[in-house]
């Protein structure tokens, strides 16, 4: 850092009665504006580095226990593909949590969108019909959530819990418990290996695009700034002239949109729509966001952290599956990781 004035000197300046803004003052206060390299370095904080460290350690563990299978290209493609659906949901969830809210209905919305988009009637409209319906159902559910919370004054926990129940119920009603197999070739083809682009499955590309857009929106737009402001101090945001209610509405719309996209990815991945889709996605998405470093109380959110959180969870699941460990062990490991991550974050938060 190239700051000529030490904190002590600045303190002395502080006591001086109103120095004018002469060139002298201007010189002493030369500070970082937005040098991209320095911003990048500042952003690569301990939290992100430790998440990368955990992910690296997992890859080492996978490589040692199952060297042939884990590091196989197909397996890595699988891990990324599996991350894509929950990853897109987590990006939306990160926005909602950053604003001080919560969306418990994401899993149910994914289920509803995936079955609505795969009914016989919808499939007649082909690829476009399925994509359009998925997204529309997601946005529609988000709209209901947002209106109830922002303008109906409901607590996000309750409103989205109600949506969880209703959307799951509606999904069951549509399917009557049956799996709706997709017959549209354009959809099925996207899951095939020959549609991979430079070895990357299209699903993963969608996930990557959503991640990049999410990062840009949160960190580089007024929308993102308002989201953080509402989560950090809603009353201060209101008194600063921000339309807090409209912002909240948009945030739940955004989460719904992400669920719609995730449902579409899931349809491609599974070639079907089921009312049991997206089971417990809400918990996975919240857990990934929290271990990534997003504050559950709002006011601070990180898309990078959330995505690393998703990758960590999917990698663990994959390693456990390769080593023939049962899901019960996976669940216990997940729980332990959440506790450890939050404890570490509290430690680093209190020392800085």
């Amino acid at each position: 850092m190239t700051q000529p004035a030490s904190p002590a000197q600045q303190g002395q300046q502080d006591a001086r009665p109103r120095p004018d803004s002469s060139p002298g003052t201007r010189k002493s206060g030369q500070t970082d504006g937005g040098s991209p390299l320095r911003t990048l370095w500042a952003r690569a904080d301990i939290r992100t580095l430790s998440l990368l460290g955990v992910l690296a350690a997992l890859i080492v563990v996978g490589g040692i226990t199952k060297p042939d299978e884990f590091l196989d290209t197909r397996n890595l493609q699988l891990v990324l593909t599996q991350s894509s659906v929950i990853g897109v949901v987590t990006v939306g969830m990160t926005f909602v949590i950053t604003s001080g809210g919560i969306d418990l209905s994401v899993g149910a919305i994914v289920a509803l969108a995936s079955v609505w988009a795969t009914t016989v009637a919808t499939q007649e409209y082909g690829f476009g019909g399925i994509l359009f319906t998925s997204v529309l159902v997601g946005v529609g559910c988000g709209l209901v959530n947002g209106l109830l919370i922002a303008y109906g004054g409901m607590v996000p926990f309750i409103a989205t819990l109600a949506m969880l129940a209703s959307a799951r119920g509606l999904a069951l009603q549509i399917t009557e418990g049956r799996t709706q197999v997709v017959t549209v070739d354009g959809i099925l083809g996207l899951g095939e290996r020959d549609s991979y682009i430079l070895g990357v499955p299209p699903l993963v590309l969608v996930f990557a695009a959503v991640t990049v857009i999410g990062w840009l929106v949160l960190n580089r737009t007024t929308f993102g700034r308002r989201t953080v402001a509402v989560g950090g101090n809603a009353e201060a945001a209101r008194l600063a002239g921000i339309d807090v209610r409209r912002q909240r509405l948009y945030l739940y719309l955004l989460s719904g949109l992400c669920c719609g996209i995730a449902a579409f990815l899931l349809i491609i991945l599974s070639g079907s729509g089921q009312n049991t889709n997206g089971n417990l996605y809400e918990l996975d998405a919240i857990a990934a966001a929290i271990i990534g470093g997003t504050l559950l109380s709002g006011g601070r959110g990180t898309i990078t952290g959330s995505v690393l959180g998703v990758l960590i969870f999917t990698t663990i699941t994959n390693i456990f599956a390769l080593n023939n460990l049962q899901t019960d062990v996976q669940q216990i490991a997940k729980g332990a990781i959440i506790v450890a991550a939050v404890l570490v974050q509290r430690r680093t938060a209190s020392t800085t």
Partner: protein, 524 residues
């Protein structure tokens, strides 16, 4: 009285929070069996002091002596074990539990160490309630079903369920009717007759005259008077201690022709604005370059007026016009768009994003200016924030630092910079120097005056009379929601304003019938 050693001595207690020194070497001495009153305005440090005494805050410096022994109060439990009980203003009762369960919460009478003896708890709670003059409160009832006054009795019963020697009561009368206040006084007298000491906090001077033995006055984290006789010290002296300056504030000169010159049109016009139960219809015109001060006690409706003008509260009557155009009532956004800006009383809770940098706190009201189709021009944002903070000499001269690391005065400057950047034309300032170190105030005054000289209209609220008189051009004196006097500041002096503000409160019981609201005080 025999030279008995005091029950409690606190000396040189110092406590800082990020950005503000809440207590700066405070002394307090309490004798067994006395009612020691603690006076001071919001933000003077009363709450911090009693939290130190309750073991809820650890002092940075200073000593506490309890019954001639030096003690360290590491936790609320440690304080309670010594016999120090605190009844907080926001009652800390569990509404879903019964009266008896609340009274013995944490030290339930048990059998075999864990089975709660409900009947014994109820019987002992009933005895305590009887002693407190409220035998009609059923120990088996849920606390949530009780009135505020009854809940307070339960809180007191909880304090008495321990072996107490000192009870701290934080504004115990705030929620009570006059006859309930009489009962409160009877209880306090009973307690002191048993040798229990009471530290009594209240804004109401007449209560302190009635019940108090001695008074300690806090101001800006310092004890400006220790152990004054409560009954014989003149009201005016006490008020002057609370509000008066303890250093000579330096106020900037007023522009030579602030009145009389050909006036432009008013930028802000308030017509018959009122809110039921808070303030009576108010008319006001505010001209560019003018600072108008609202003087009044806590609860006189000052902050409510500002927030209603700003649209944060919906008026029950009247309207607000900017440049002759009426604002949509109850809409902050309309007010901000028309050029109003508010620096609220509770800076941290109402104005600042504490996790964010100075830049982001300054730009939050002007984001559309740096938005290109929603995309943020961050370099432009930073440059503009730096320009605004430099104009106000905000220190450190680096808007990238987190706002929470700034001192109180510089945090206030960050709020002012927000409105400066927005290009606002009417600045509403609610207690602009609260939590600001005395030394930094003169600088803030100079900044405010300079903004006015540049054409801003300023509406200033302050409970510090010298601040209003020194800074404002014109002063409106408020009492219980009514404007009782309007005059140019130079025609008023502190004593005249204090008389107007206090009129009746020291002699007639009228004020007791209109309880002073606890507005803003929980964080004091």
């Amino acid at each position: 009285m025999a030279p008995e050693p005091p029950l409690l001595t606190m000396s040189g207690i110092t406590k800082s929070f990020p950005g503000v020194r809440a207590l700066d070497g405070v002394d307090l001495e309490v004798q067994a069996g006395e009612v020691h009153c603690l006076l001071g305005q919001n933000g003077a440090g009363k709450s911090t002091l009693i939290k130190v005494l309750a073991g809820a805050h650890q002092p940075d410096d200073g000593e506490i002596t309890w019954r001639s022994e030096r003690v360290v109060l590491r936790s609320p439990i440690a304080a309670m074990r010594l016999g120090i009980a605190t009844i907080y203003q926001e009652l800390d009762l569990v509404e879903g539990l019964s009266v008896a369960e609340n009274v013995f919460l944490g030290h339930e009478p048990t059998a075999a160490g864990f089975v709660v003896r409900g009947r014994e708890a109820r019987a002992r709670a009933a005895a305590l309630l009887k002693r407190l003059g409220h035998p009609e409160v059923d120990p088996a009832r849920l606390v949530g079903d009780l009135s505020a006054a009854q809940q307070q009795i339960v809180s007191m019963a909880r304090a008495l369920s321990h072996d107490v020697r000192l009870i701290v009561m934080d504004e115990p009368s705030a929620a009570l009717d006059p006859d309930e206040v009489d009962n409160l006084f009877r209880i306090v007298r009973d307690l002191t007759a048993d040798g229990v000491a009471v530290v009594y906090i209240s804004h109401r001077l007449e209560e302190i005259r009635t019940i108090g033995d001695r008074v300690t006055v806090l101001k800006d984290g310092r004890a400006v008077a220790v152990g004054l006789p409560a009954k014989s010290t003149p009201t005016r002296d006490v008020v002057a201690l609370m509000t008066g300056r303890n250093v000579e504030y330096v106020f900037p000169d007023r522009p030579p022709t602030s009145a009389g010159a050909a006036r432009p049109d008013p930028v802000l016009t308030v017509q018959g604005l009122a809110r039921d139960g808070e303030f009576a219809p108010l008319d006001l015109e505010l001209y560019p370059g003018e600072i108008v001060g609202l003087a009044g006690l806590v609860g006189s409706g000052r902050s409510e007026i500002l927030e209603t003008v700003y649209g944060a509260r919906k008026p029950s009557a009247g309207r607000v016009l900017v440049d002759g155009k009426p604002l949509k009532p109850g809409s902050v956004r309309a007010a901000v768009r028309a050029g109003l800006g508010l620096a609220p009383e509770e800076r941290k809770a109402q104005a600042l994003l504490m996790l964010e940098s100075v830049t982001r706190n300054v730009s939050v009201s002007s984001m559309s200016r740096f938005s290109h189709g929603g995309w943020l021009d961050r370099a432009g944002e930073f440059a503009a924030a730096r320009k605004a903070t430099r104009e106000l000499s905000l220190r450190p001269d680096n808007p990238s630092v987190p706002v929470r690391t700034l001192s109180g005065g510089n945090q206030q400057k960050a709020v002012l910079a927000r409105w400066l950047l927005r290009g606002c034309r009417v600045l509403l300032l609610d207690e602009p120097t609260r939590g600001v170190d005395v030394g930094a105030r003169a600088e803030l005054y100079a900044v405010i005056r300079r903004l006015a000289d540049d054409g801003l209209a300023v509406l200033l609220v302050s409970s510090e009379v010298p601040e209003v008189l020194g800074l404002a051009d014109r002063v409106l004196v408020l009492r219980e929601g009514h404007v009782v006097h309007t005059a140019p500041a130079r025609e008023l002096d502190e004593h005249r304003v204090l008389d107007l503000v206090m009129e009746g409160s020291s002699v007639s019981p009228v004020t007791a019938a209109h309880p002073v609201t606890a507005e803003g005080s929980p964080t004091s």
